[in-house]
């Protein structure tokens, strides 16, 4: 029978401050900074130049590369710059800066309200042109994901509504407020992938979302809604598959190797909007939370700077220590509030001085990192070998299987930066493999 969980994982303080805060639409900012690289894969080339006038939904950048997704204007106005700008991933990335003209002038869009009438390849083409990527954070191009290699049979589509990161509630609110839109998107994704069955997986700390999704999927053949344990990293796709189907994605493999595709509910909501209205991915829901005066779930145009989000959430509550794009477990700390919301931005989390992580002390070999590792690795040994420069040993101990969830670092009572070291070891191993291949 199906296991409902997996070994390892942790129970951080969830702090879902905005679980019952309805999504609020934020008007366009005076300027949107739209990076040309918002997905896993090749960056886009700009299709506009400084001085051009663009409409809402107009394509700003695209590429011929197989793994990529185009980017679109999230507001109508004038292109004032095409140049590198800060990106939440931490480095500057070429971006199109659009100044809002105050209008809502939109490109011609064509809705496809019934995806079941469309050919799967056509659905994938619509998804690609709509710029859809995974909205859970990894931002893998959706059109590529739903069309796995020839000969692959997909028997189950998993819609990931676990939202296991502390603080984040964007997916939770979408499921409560827009379940029909999610279901429309799911129908399109299932049809594109040829999946006869779908499971909507939601952590059991979101009873209202479970109820809303159960209501919206009632009567849909092959679609079920399942509660999974509230535990981090329940939303890791490999662990969701293990929990729901008892299948282990092989080391180095992807979900389609075990007949499964996993997408975030936010991705399905964006697909639903694309098929219902024809509008490409130009806005998303972001949870703005932590040390802000009024934590909120905001639907914002892509390219809105973080500073505008913090302002919309009432401003900082006290002196901020860190501003994180994403959740506290896997999010990226920002050095500037000029970084914009991109397709993969699920939250903006402000941490205060009390969240400063103490200095590390000696490893006491308590084994908590081993106990918590959902990949069943030995983080304490990986760290020790990395620090000793013994990269071969980290590879032997499967450093490359680390999913970087951060459970080991979270649980370490000596505050050792375990996942950080393993990440560096992985980069070193990858660099060695590249050198060996060339």
């Amino acid at each position: 029978m199906t296991a409902r969980t997996f070994t390892g994982g942790i129970h951080p303080a969830y702090q879902k401050l905005t679980a019952h805060t309805p999504i609020r639409d934020l008007p366009p900012p005076p300027q949107a900074v739209i990076p040309l690289h918002q997905h896993t894969g090749a960056p886009c080339h700009p299709l506009v130049q400084k001085g051009d006038t663009v409409l809402l939904g107009q394509k700003l950048g695209d590429t011929e590369a197989p793994v990529a997704a185009p980017v679109h204007a999230s507001l109508p106005g004038k292109v004032v710059a095409v140049e590198p700008r800060p990106h939440p991933a931490g480095r500057d990335v070429p971006a199109v800066v659009v100044e809002w003209d105050g209008s809502d002038a939109t490109v011609d869009v064509q809705p496809h309200p019934d995806p079941d009438d469309l050919d799967p390849a056509k659905i994938a083409a619509i998804i690609r042109e709509g710029g859809l990527v995974g909205l859970g954070g990894a931002a893998f191009p959706t059109a590529v994901k739903v069309r796995p290699p020839e000969g692959t049979v997909i028997d189950t589509y998993i819609l990931n509504g676990a939202e296991c990161e502390p603080f984040l509630t964007a997916d939770h609110r979408l499921m409560v407020e827009n379940p029909e839109q999610i279901v429309l998107g799911l129908r399109a994704l299932m049809r594109a992938a040829g999946a006869p069955r779908a499971i909507v997986a939601i952590e059991d700390n979101k009873p209202d979302a479970l109820e809303a999704m159960a209501g919206a999927t009632r009567g849909m053949p092959g679609v079920s809604v399942e509660a999974v344990h509230t535990k981090y990293p329940q939303g890791s796709e490999k662990h969701l598959i293990k929990a729901l189907l008892g299948r282990e994605v092989p080391s180095g493999g992807l979900p389609f190797h075990v007949g499964v595709i996993v997408s975030n509910v936010g991705t399905a909501a964006a697909a639903g909007e694309l098929f219902a209205t024809g509008m490409p991915l130009v806005r998303r829901v972001v949870t703005v939370t932590g040390r802000v005066k009024e934590p909120a779930n905001l639907r914002v145009p892509i390219g809105t700077p973080f500073s505008a989000l913090v302002e919309a959430a009432g401003g900082f509550d006290g002196e901020p220590l860190k501003v994180v794009a994403g959740g506290p477990m896997m999010g990226v700390a920002q050095y500037t509030l000029d970084a914009p919301v991109v397709k993969g931005t699920s939250g903006v989390l402000v941490l205060g001085p009390e969240d400063r992580i103490p200095e590390p002390t000696s490893c006491v070999r308590c084994g908590r990192c081993v106990e918590s590792c959902p990949m069943r690795l030995l983080p304490l040994y990986l760290e020790a070998y990395y620090r000793a420069g013994m990269i071969d040993q980290t590879e032997t101990l499967h450093a490359m299987d680390c999913i970087e969830c951060g459970c080991c670092s979270w649980v370490c009572p000596a505050r050792r930066p375990l996942v950080q070291s393993i990440r560096m070891a992985k980069m070193e191993i990858a660099a060695r493999r590249r050198r060996a291949a060339s």
Binding site: Q334, I357, L377, S421
Partner: protein, 342 residues
């Protein structure tokens, strides 16, 4: 506005090393109360002397060697208490001082301090005292009236039958602790209260005491009786001597025991087997200390051969790491380059 930039995760568990160590100290307090009740205030005085010596030795040693003083992590407190618990209730006070100093300086600090020692410091201190002052370390007294006597442990084994005139205590006296023995080891009741608290708070892994006690009980039943095979008394084996103290508070020492689940089971079973073998066939009646010390030495090897099958890997024999990783520094010297700034 200056924002801290560091790599994820950005939050950590509230359970720090000092917090967890304090839980162990709390868990040791019932046994101290039992020692005070059965053996009088001098037993408490020994614990205070031993603990004070441990903390002072750690602080002074770290000061003179120029390392950050880390006594606030509470680990030296635990070592001091455990060392005292392994002393006879009327041991001279200087024995506590010498044993505690040896445990902290020789067994712990000379190897690099907390996390780098490979054997349990308190047990190393005890072994040192036992080798150096065997008479003082084995002069037992009865509870309450402190008459000189023997411990009930030798009654377990065939050669123990020679102890004429010593009546085996009742199970209740063994369980409550009204028997001669080391000052912190006699009350199973008090030790279980603390040990189960640690299991419940997940400070220690339940597998170690469970497998240790289970193995000792079964093997004690098979080998440990005066009437030959399968004549032993498992309950007597569990309650007499320092088995419960060792199983919950010494064999669970994080630093010197394996980190993998399977490794911990192997470690605990090994402790159980060695304890019974030493008790039944050894020249010295108590096997707990030496069994744990011997298994401490096997810990790196056990870790090496119990690497778990990683998620998604085909079932196959695990590949072992080459050796215990080298030490890269001490305590606060391990600062992560990735901690602040990228």
């Amino acid at each position: 506005m200056k924002l801290v930039v560091s790599s994820s995760p950005h939050v950590v568990s509230p359970e720090s090393v000092p917090f967890l160590m304090r839980q162990v100290v709390f868990a040791l307090l019932p046994a101290l109360a039992a020692a005070a009740y059965f053996f009088g205030p001098y037993a408490v005085f020994l614990v205070v002397v031993s603990t004070g010596t441990a903390v002072a030795c750690e602080a002074v040693w770290q000061k003179i060697t120029g390392r950050p003083v880390s006594v606030h992590d509470w680990s030296a407190v635990i070592t001091g208490i455990l060392l005292a618990y392994n002393l006879p209730p009327r041991a001279p006070w200087w024995l506590a001082v010498v044993g505690s100093a040896f445990a902290i300086i020789v067994a712990k600090q000379l190897f690099g301090g907390l996390g780098h020692n490979f054997i349990n410091p308190a047990l190393a201190g005890r072994a040192f005292l036992l080798a150096s002052w065997p008479a003082a370390m084995t002069s037992w007294v009865t509870p309450f009236d402190a008459r000189t006597t023997a411990t009930p442990l030798p009654l377990l084994i065939p050669k123990g039958q020679e102890l004429a005139g010593v009546a085996a205590p009742s199970y209740w006296d063994l369980f409550a602790g009204a028997v001669p023995g080391c000052l912190g080891e006699t009350s199973a009741l008090a030790l279980l209260a603390g040990g189960l608290y640690l299991v419940w708070r997940r400070v220690i892994d339940w597998r170690i005491p469970a497998w240790y006690l289970g193995t000792a009980a079964v093997l004690g039943w098979i080998l440990g009786g005066p009437r030959g095979l399968f004549g032993g008394d498992p309950l007597y084996h569990l309650l007499a001597g320092g088995l419960i103290l060792g199983a919950f508070f010494m064999a669970t020492d994080w630093v010197t025991t394996p980190v993998t689940r399977r490794g911990r089971v192997i470690f605990a079973v090994g402790c159980g087997i060695l304890t019974v073998l030493i008790r039944v066939y050894g020249g010295y009646p108590e096997g707990v200390s030496y069994s744990i010390l011997l298994m401490n030495l096997a810990t790196p090897l056990i870790d090496r051969y119990t690497v778990p099958r990683q998620f998604g890997a085909p079932a196959r024999p695990p590949r072992a790491p080459a050796a215990r990783p080298p030490q890269t520094g001490h305590g606060h010297a391990h600062h992560a380059p990735a901690r602040e700034g990228r």
